[in-house]
């Protein structure tokens, strides 16, 4: 067997010293919650009483058979897919625009990016004021085309759209910055070659831009899906999941069951479910970046 030098053993000690606090905290606050969530999903408990009653699968069967659950799942998917599609389409449009040689385009990029940095709670509040059907900014603009603003946040048919608008408004800059970086990474020679072959701008977009952009687009879609599933502050501030649960997503239901209704079991089920769904997307993203990232 190999014998270790004193120097190497000292290195082990230093490694342990440097790494263990981080790993310890991850263990307590990231891994342990996964185990504990699974346990909680099988009990009935109000977070206060000393006894947790083991109820088997009944929290799961309750949730899967409740009519609210279908609505919550639908809201989650609608919010996530709606915002991802909007972010990709609008983000691509703006990125193509800013990819041209225009003056002030870097300043424009910074302005468009700035909401990403701002507090979601503060932005949600500003938008409640903007959506106000009597003295809000949006009503002013809608009147310009001769219509009246709907009662965005109090009408279950409009509330989800309002929340998506705010989420997209806040995160558009992220999509633009990423897509712009992707566009600039496409080799110029490809466009020149396509130009020589006589391809028009639409043909060049389909033959060069889209394929060249696809890795970045894929990254954007996955990160936006994950962000969509986790979006909480805008919903909490603007609608509290209402009206009539029309904006209650899975993360909001988890918050409500755990911290408003004090039902640890159902919150546990929601956590397990949310984790499961997001795990699928995260694994896809990992698989993908493994293929495409060249480690040094």
């Amino acid at each position: 067997m190999r014998r270790f030098s004193a120097a190497e053993k000292r290195e082990w000690g230093l490694f342990a010293l440097l790494v263990s606090p981080n790993l310890f905290l991850l263990g307590v606050f990231t891994y342990w919650p996964l185990i504990y969530n699974s346990y909680l999903s099988f009990v009935r408990w109000d977070l206060l009483s000393p006894v947790k009653i083991w109820v088997g699968w009944s929290n799961y069967t309750y949730l899967f058979t409740s009519p609210d659950f279908g609505a919550i799942l639908f809201n989650t998917l609608f919010f996530t897919l709606g915002s991802v599609v909007a972010l990709c389409v609008l983000g691509l449009g703006v990125a193509l625009l800013l990819n041209q040689k225009l003056r002030w385009r870097n300043s424009a990029r910074s302005v468009i990016f700035s909401p990403v940095m701002l507090s979601g709670a503060a932005i949600g509040i500003v938008w409640i004021y903007i959506f106000d059907p009597r003295y809000g900014l949006l009503d002013v603009l809608i009147r310009l085309v001769g219509m009246r603003s709907p009662n965005w946040l109090l009408d279950p048919n409009w509330a989800m759209l309002a929340v998506i608008i705010v989420h997209v408004w806040k995160n558009l800059g992220y999509a633009v910055v990423i897509l712009l970086a992707g566009l600039q990474a496409i080799p110029k020679e490809l466009y020149e070659a396509a130009g020589v072959d006589g391809a028009g701008s639409i043909a060049r977009f389909r033959a060069v831009t889209l394929p060249g952009l696809s890795p970045v687009l894929f990254f954007l879609v996955l990160t936006s899906i994950l962000a969509g599933f986790q979006s909480f502050d805008i919903v909490k501030v603007m609608t509290e999941g209402g009206p009539i649960r029309s904006t209650t997503t899975l993360i909001y239901a988890l918050y409500q069951e755990g911290f408003v209704a004090f039902n640890a079991g159902r919150a546990g089920v929601a956590s397990v479910l949310l984790f499961g769904i997001m795990l699928v997307f995260t694994v896809v993203q990992f698989r993908y970046s493994e293929k495409n990232v060249h480690y040094a």
């Binding site: 290195e11 082990w12 230093l14 490694f15 342990a16 440097l18 981080n22 790993l23 310890f24 905290l25 991850l26 307590v28 990231t30 891994y31 996964l34 969530n37 909680l40 977070l47 703006v94 625009l97 225009l102 002030w104 385009r105 424009a108 910074s110 468009i112 940095m117 701002l118 507090s119 709670a121 503060a122 509040i125 500003v126 004021y129 903007i130 106000d132 003295y135 900014l137 009147r143 408004w169 990423i178 970086a181 110029k188 020149e192 970045v216 990254f219 909480f232 988890l254 918050y255 755990g258 911290f259 640890a264 956590s271 397990v272 949310l274 795990l279 995260t282 694994v283 990992f286 040094a296």
Partner: protein, 295 residues
């Protein structure tokens, strides 16, 4: 087109002129128009927030609304500061942000250094364990973490807000990748000189990796400053609220009755971040772009 590398051919020059001409006409016009539209869509809500904060309350509820405050006033700021303990909110947010990000950066740098340069049995396995944490979003840990913090008696404390978010997996991963690209010659030279590991970390790795660390620190600071869900759960007294929670309660209390005061309050929350962003936008924007293109 890179003119330093290859000499332009006739067809190149033609293509350039052709493109240049096209740029100078309709395309240029629509380009600037589109840019103006984008900036307006993003900027108008912010403008609305700012002018709302300076309007007297009769003017806020005037139909149709005004685009410039007729009698600009600072009373909304005074009223907001008196309606909620914003001074206290600032202190709380500064403490939780500085300690939260400080821990994150410290842990990321030290762990990344250890994983990149030090020997340890089964190091790769440990690194995988750390990486796997990326698959667990914070949101699914809130209930068990709340129970842990309550058990520790840390509800309504700074450590209750800071500690669960102090460990860092993603930052460790990014910095380790970055550290590994540093020139080996420099590290070897330090070894020959007999520099200790910590000395190498402090005087060679840190200065070389400064841009990556600054970007990471900035993103962490912004995330902690804006953090909403976790502080909402682990604080329940007015004195322990951070800014995003404080502005939420100000809105709940004053709400639609007094938008001017609420808008002044939101400015208290966002202005420091805007200042940081103006100062350091290159680090932030380039860092995010690099993260996506490199994967």
């Amino acid at each position: 087109m890179n003119r330093d590398v290859k000499t332009p051919t006739a067809s190149d020059r033609f293509a350039d002129e052709w493109a240049g001409q096209k740029y100078s006409l309709a395309r240029r016009f629509t380009g600037y128009l589109g840019m103006l539209l984008c900036v307006a869509v993003i900027g108008l809500p912010v403008y609305w927030m700012v002018i709302g904060a300076f309007k007297v309350s009769q003017e806020i509820y005037q139909v149709p609304p005004t685009w410039l405050p007729k009698q600009p006033t600072l009373t909304n700021f005074v009223d907001a500061w008196q309606a909620a303990p914003f001074g206290r909110y600032y202190v709380n947010t500064l403490i939780t942000t500085l300690f939260g990000s400080g821990f994150e950066v410290f842990f990321a740098v030290t762990s990344a250094f250890a994983f990149a340069f030090l020997r340890f049995p089964q190091k790769e396995l440990l690194f995988l364990i750390l990486l796997a944490a990326l698959m667990v979003p914070n949101q699914v840990t809130i209930l068990p973490n709340y129970l842990t913090i309550a058990q520790l008696g840390w509800i309504n404390t700074y450590q209750g807000i800071v500690v669960p978010g102090a460990a860092v997996a993603y930052g460790t991963f990014l910095l380790r990748q970055y550290f590994r690209t540093l020139p080996h010659e420099v590290m070897d030279a330090a070894k020959v000189d007999g520099a200790s590991h910590l000395r190498t970390l402090w005087s060679i790795v840190l200065p070389l990796a400064r841009p990556a660390i600054v970007t990471m620190a900035l993103l962490s600071i912004v995330a902690k400053w804006n953090d909403f869900l976790w502080p909402l759960l682990v604080t329940n007294t007015r004195e322990m609220r951070v800014l995003p929670i404080g502005i939420f309660w100000l809105m709940v209390e004053e709400g639609t009755i007094n938008w001017g005061v609420v808008m002044a309050g939101t400015l208290f929350v966002v202005v420091p971040v805007v200042l940081v962003f103006l100062y350091a936008q290159r680090y932030v924007v380039d860092g995010i772009a690099a993260g996506a293109v490199k994967g």
